[in-house]
Assembly symmetry: none
Homo-oligomer: 704 residues x 2
């Protein structure tokens, strides 16, 4: 027998597992969790609590090898015994177990339950980690490509005893000539002795020059610093634009020469396990000495993962393209073997102020405590190696400026994408998320504010709210006569098709607007109790309207909109509306000329319905625009056009900041704004949709 | 009273002021501070507290027109009354006033004291700006202290909800104001939004601002980048200048404000274990894949050790000094607890090209292989953290430019120290070591070359050669009648005292010159065999002359100079002389106006004897200067004066390089130069010392 070295000691026992309904199967190590085992076999199981046995998103059914009884002291079985944490989780949910007919031991939290033998596992519908449909996708905005990094071919005479000038000076002199040739004799090209070379790049210079026989392609950053020297002629270099959302991180890999997007990748923001929203993450960093370090490392590692994925995707696309024409492929001997991470020479990142701080490893504490002050507004340039980002180590990382504690670099990017600072008209830009940021103004003046809107508009904290993934209801219509709904599910082509799993953000707006329009809830948001439909009923938590009956769903339960859900939306829209109104008032305007909704949210909501519930100020619906991921677009613009970076730095320096809590009228305005569409504002553009409007002076008390 | 519009306020009265000891005088506006008035008249008065009456650097004596008594309510006088801030400042320093014999009112803070009439002002030494350091050099030039790092006190209003501007922008705005105040309104100070902050420094910013209650001292590098923010008022920062020799590494810890050297430390270069000279170290890096890494780590770790030692020495000195005056120590509550490594904000390093490359972790391979090309000539700036040097991690490491493969940053430093590029005369600078570097020229043109001289001139490869340590013979004289020697030993006050252990470099030159002068060796370097002295004898390795008998030594053996030793010196001096002569010829000169010998070697040799053996070209001995460690001085100059860095970069770009091996006459010249003092050159200035000179046509064959 072969004598195996001790490093293979961890060749512990393997067990067979099968996952249903996918049928995935394979051998996994003893002792790992079912969730880890499933991932190894390519089956994603949901989780948002960082495997803390608190979210319950990862429930699975142990079909073979389970413990007959919930008994910690039971004899050794094929899975580990139910842990105290698991039993505590299930103890808090007797109804769920009863409804499903599950018992503890059969149902397990896959993050807690460890493999100890062969086992057959059933992953129920709601636990499956469906790969998200990425709605943040690059738009087709025309951007002038003027990247910060330009490439120049430099061919030098080799050194000899008569002219033993140093490698860098030899290159710099050749580079000055090349720059002049490429840019034209009139261009302002730096003199060779004013050029610099990044220290890490310098370290590889001598070898590359000799290996290449003094014929290299030089990448110059901002016309002043050499950051890469490659042997021979190399045409392209690459850059990555990233929008770090609190929930989703989206990365666009771009060709810096053509501006083309080669790959778009997104991932959940891994920080979500430390808190769903920015406030809870800030809290986490305050309460845990290593909190910031954990959050920072989590995002850096996700960014590195996304970079790797993007390079892989782009190379696969490249292979497919070249696969169409094998003769072409074979004849182009100079064709690169594929994009390498080291060929990514710059990265531009945006995100809200908390994401910005955590990315830079700056403590976000003061963002969350009055008077809410960021560490820095201006854009930051830092070498990739300083942040541990795995692009070229001499590459630059550019982070767009922040405007205020709750108006971050993502808003700067939105401004860059939409350019309100170049308009004669007055534009109102709204980026809606858990927090909404608003920018109002024109070429002469811009003002901004922000307001927390809660997660309701994005489908969270709504009983059956979910992300816009397959199975999510995305559109709702209610017949005002029959009070019967129709709905459309993500991934289905037609209405009323497929099995519903929950409701996503756009359908929640739809549903509330339709409930109001059909007269099921009144302008104060209250359910009417005398309607002749079974769909309006008193549920466990008060009145509700059933959108989908249990048999129409994949989860075997009715999917309703509840009174609580409606109130969540009322609070969110009131906050948003009051912020808009306050900004307009401070600006001395009645209405904006255009309303621009940014973010995935804006792209999928029905503008008319949003106005009907009073989410946005009244105006001609033709002047309401949804622009998608403007933050991502702005990041891409800043990546591809160096001039835009100075522009946005200057613009953000002049933006005026208003803090809503300092406005004395804010609370009053907020109360009036909770009504549909508003207690005291006319909404002429959607007046025809408003049912018998009643001015109810008591409405402001509805929350009590 | 007339209500004057604000724009006319400055059309005020003028007063005459005279500043002593400079004697500068002129008219200035009423109401401006004495410090501003002095600046207008070209006299800089120190200040780092942004005119906040806290640093006390700007004290002046009011010789005429002062208040007789310190009394705020006194009648109007020629200067404004002592302000409460001033009186508070002086109240904290009773001992200072007592020691100096000053009283408040006579002594004033010039930033607070306003001109109200004609006044005579005395600026004491310690308040004068633009401090100078004086060093020993051929030019006796004083160095103006203009460090790259300057400190400014910045006091900010804390943020509030109305003005929640970010920490960095708050600091940058305050800094702009402080810089303006300290530097004067006409100074070209960057706008706040053009200032930058080092990323690692930014990370600690928010905490420091809050801990310090928004009162900090900011260190700005090159007027553009903040590299350190310290709580409260901090007066000094520090820098280190380093000369990395192949054998010895010398570090000078300096106060960047005063230019004072606080500690000088030296260590053996640890790379010596990988090879004694640069060629063998280059060889080591070629033969060992991890060779460069080893050499690089060795020098970095020695530099860190030296930094630590220097800080310790400086702090010990500080303790001693303050120990002399405990009352002063106790009253100075703001006195720092001691210098910390993190307060060292810049480091300037020089060394030959191989030391330069290894320090920067650049492969030195091509320095040792034809055509002998360095990786880079121009000076390098790199963050301390990139090299792992343990000064402030945001601090800059500046490495002076190299000129050629064998003319390194140490030679650049020598040029900076001696300034041949500012002379009308033609100066020949020679730095002698295992390798000799030579610079010749004037303000219009400089040429350089280098030549290996071997280690003989430094006492190595000479049979009883040793370093200039106790026990080393350092001087030798031989009586031309008796042929008996006298010698002086390092550490002994008188000649012929003590026990000899070996011969150091200066005595080797002496001995060879004396052997020649006394007629013991002929002009070809050969021992005469017919002399009536026991000291000349045939030893184990040929003929030799015994300088010390065994009983006069501590090693119990005779210490001779051998034929082989003499030949080593002949080879070394021939190489050096030929290099000088070639350079002179290329320059079109017969003789230099001055010869400047740099390095420890030059400081200890007898100039006359060096000329007698033909080590240096003939010239008036009064024009031969030994300037000591010019490379170390140059490093210190570049550390203390930022303008000198651009100067030396520009000078080195224009230096012409000659490679001796490419000179067809080199070999012939070399052979002629092996004779004492030279086969074919007259040496009129030392002709009286030369014994019966014989032109020996066979001399060139003596080596055979």
């Amino acid at each position: 027998m072969v004598n195996r070295p001790p490093s293979i000691v961890h060749s512990m026992k393997k067990h067979n597992i099968i996952l249903q309904p996918s049928g995935s199967r394979g051998q996994v190590d003893e002792g790992i969790s079912i969730r880890s085992a499933a991932r190894e076999l390519g089956v994603e199981i949901e989780s948002i609590c960082a495997e803390n046995a608190t979210c319950g998103k990862c429930m699975v059914l142990i079909e073979e090898g389970r413990f007959e009884k919930y008994n910690i002291d039971s004899k050794r079985e094929n899975v580990s015994p139910v842990s105290p944490e698991e039993s505590a989780y299930f103890a808090r949910r007797p109804k769920l177990l009863k409804d499903k007919g599950w018992e503890v031991g059969h149902v397990r939290l896959s993050c807690q339950c460890k493999i100890q033998g062969d086992v057959l596992i059933n992953v129920p519908e709601e636990s499956r980690g469906n790969k998200q449909i990425v709605r943040k996708s690059a738009s087709n905005r025309a951007i002038e490509v003027k990247p910060s990094v330009r490439k120049y071919l430099v061919t030098m005479a080799p050194p000899n005893l008569e002219r033993p000038i140093a490698d860098w000076e030899r290159l710099a002199k050749g580079l000055e000539t090349s720059m002049q040739l490429v840019r034209g004799v009139d261009a302002k090209v730096p003199r060779w002795y004013d050029l610099d070379i990044d220290y890490q790049c310098l370290r590889g210079l001598s070898k590359t020059l000799r290996d290449s026989k003094w014929n290299v392609t030089v990448s110059v950053w901002q016309d002043k610093e050499v950051i890469e020297v490659q042997a021979g002629y190399v045409e392209d270099s690459y850059g990555a634009a990233v929008d770090i959302g609190s929930t989703t991180v989206a990365l666009y890999l771009c060709n810096l020469r053509t501006g083309e997007v080669l790959a778009s990748e997104s991932e959940m923001n891994p920080q979500i396990v430390y808190g769903e929203d920015v406030m809870s993450r800030i809290q986490y960093t305050i309460e845990h000495p290593d909190g910031l370090e954990k959050l920072h490392k989590a995002i850096i590692s996700t960014l590195n993962k996304l970079l790797k994925q993007a390079v892989k995707s782009a190379n696969e696309k490249l292979d497919e393209t070249s696969g169409l024409d094998t003769s072409e492929k074979n004849t182009r001997s100079t064709r690169p073997a594929g994009i390498k991470l080291s060929e990514i020479l710059e990265m531009v990142l945006v995100g809200n102020s908390t994401m910005h701080h955590v990315l830079l490893n700056l403590h976000p504490k003061d963002l969350g405590l009055a008077p809410f002050v960021p560490t820095i507004h201006k854009s930051v340039d830092v070498k990739a190696r300083e942040l541990g980002l795995h692009i070229n180590s001499s590459g630059n990382i550019h982070i767009l400026p922040t405007i205020a504690s709750f108006v971050g670099a993502d808003t700067s990017a939105m401004i860059l994408a939409e350019e309100p600072h170049k308009q004669d008209e007055n534009w109102l830009l709204i980026d809606v998320g858990t927090n909404a940021e608003l920018i109002l103004g024109n070429r002469k003046r811009l003002v901004c504010t922000s307001t927390p809107t809660g997660p309701a508009l994005e489908g969270a904290h709504v009983e059956y709210g979910m992300r816009a993934a397959p199975g999510a209801i995305e559109r709702v219509h209610i017949d005002e006569k029959t009070l019967e709904p129709r709905y459309k599910i993500v991934g289905e082509d037609d209405w009323n098709q497929g099995k519903a799993k929950g409701i996503c953000g756009s359908a929640i707006i739809d549903a509330v607007a339709e409930l109001f329009r059909a007269g099921i809830v009144d302008s104060r948001g209250k359910f009417k109790k005398d309607l002749s439909t079974k769909r309006v009923r008193q549920g466990e938590n008060g009145w509700e309207y059933v959108i989908a009956w249990a048999e129409e769903t994949s989860i075997g339960r009715d999917i309703p909109m509840t009174q609580q859900d409606v109130r969540q939306i009322q609070l969110a829209k009131a906050a948003l509306f009051t912020a808009s109104r306050t900004l307009l008032k401070r600006f001395g305007l009645q209405d904006p000329d255009k309303v621009i909704l940014a973010g995935g949210f804006g792209s999928y909501i029905d503008k008319e319905k949003a106005m009907l519930i009073g989410l946005i100020p009244d105006c001609d619906l033709n002047n309401v625009y949804a622009v998608g991921n403007a933050a991502g677009d702005g990041a891409r613009i800043a990546l591809l056009n160096i001039e835009k970076r100075n522009e946005i730095d200057a613009v953000t320096r002049s933006v005026e900041r208003f803090e809503l809590p300092t406005d004395p009228e804010f609370q009053n305005q907020f109360m009036l704004a909770t009504s549909f569409p508003h207690m005291s504002e006319p909404f002429p553009h959607i007046a025809h949709l408003i049912p018998n409007r009643v001015a109810d002076p008591m409405a402001k008390n509805f929350m009590k």
